[in-house]
Point group: C2
Chain length 149, copies 2
């Protein structure tokens, strides 16, 4: 129970297991959110065979702040800015319904207001989901259709 050595005050990208590393790499290489099954398909040749292998890796990555789940998409992205949002509060995501691009950002004022509401109402805030849906600047120029739901 006692911390024998290795005081991880700054939690660096800790040692990842093989599966965790594979999943994180896949997310890093993707330019769009991936579903767990998308990830699985890309890792078949690396030996992964079942959804659970991906979901378990994702759980750990998310726990460590290395990846995020997009609730409105049931998909996953790697964190754009490791270590940053974890310290400061939760991240927000702008998801383009044209190209699937996701921009991650954090707004201290927003986080403060939501934390304020929670405090006022005795609500023990554990995590926050903020997702904006719309069309990015690029996609507004080109009047292309909307491939994403």
């Amino acid at each position: 129970m006692a911390h024998t050595h290795d005081d991880h005050h700054h939690e660096r990208p800790r040692d990842l297991t093989r599966n965790q590393d594979l999943v994180l790499s896949t997310l890093n290489e993707a330019h769009e959110p991936l579903s767990a099954y998308d990830i699985l398909d890309r890792l078949r040749e690396d030996g992964l065979r079942a959804p659970l292998q991906v979901y378990r890796a994702l759980d750990k990555l998310i726990e460590q702040g290395l990846a995020h789940r997009l609730e409105s998409l049931n998909a996953f992205v790697c964190c754009a800015d490791v270590g940053c949002h974890r310290a400061r509060g939760s991240a927000a995501f702008a998801i383009c319904s044209g190209c699937g691009r996701v921009d991650e950002f954090a707004d201290d004022e927003v986080n403060a207001r939501l934390a304020g509401w929670a405090a006022e109402h005795g609500f023990a805030l554990e995590r926050t989901t903020i997702e904006l849906r719309g069309r990015c600047a690029e996609c507004r120029k080109s009047q292309s259709g909307s491939p994403l739901r």
Copy 2:
């Protein structure tokens, strides 16, 4: 089968079809978010048989601002304050992982900040999801476990 009911609609909300009315009533009577399949189960004796009947009704209700989808729960609630949030600005939800209770609220400052980010980045904002997860005041007093995911 011709008209067996009045043509008059005493409802304050818009004209709802039979299925839409059934689904909305079910949400109104529930004290917690319901999944589409929960709703379906409660409406079997009213003749509903397939998920699509529920999903179609939900789509319309959400479109009209009479119900909301909770993305982090894959479940639905009726709008707490008809006509208000519809006007503009999106609603936020505080979801208790202890009892399932959901509080709906709107924070103008939060909405303004998010709209601001969108404007700065040329992002055409269509809709916003804001969901807080945690434990409500009630559930913090009683140290009960966490039945909800």
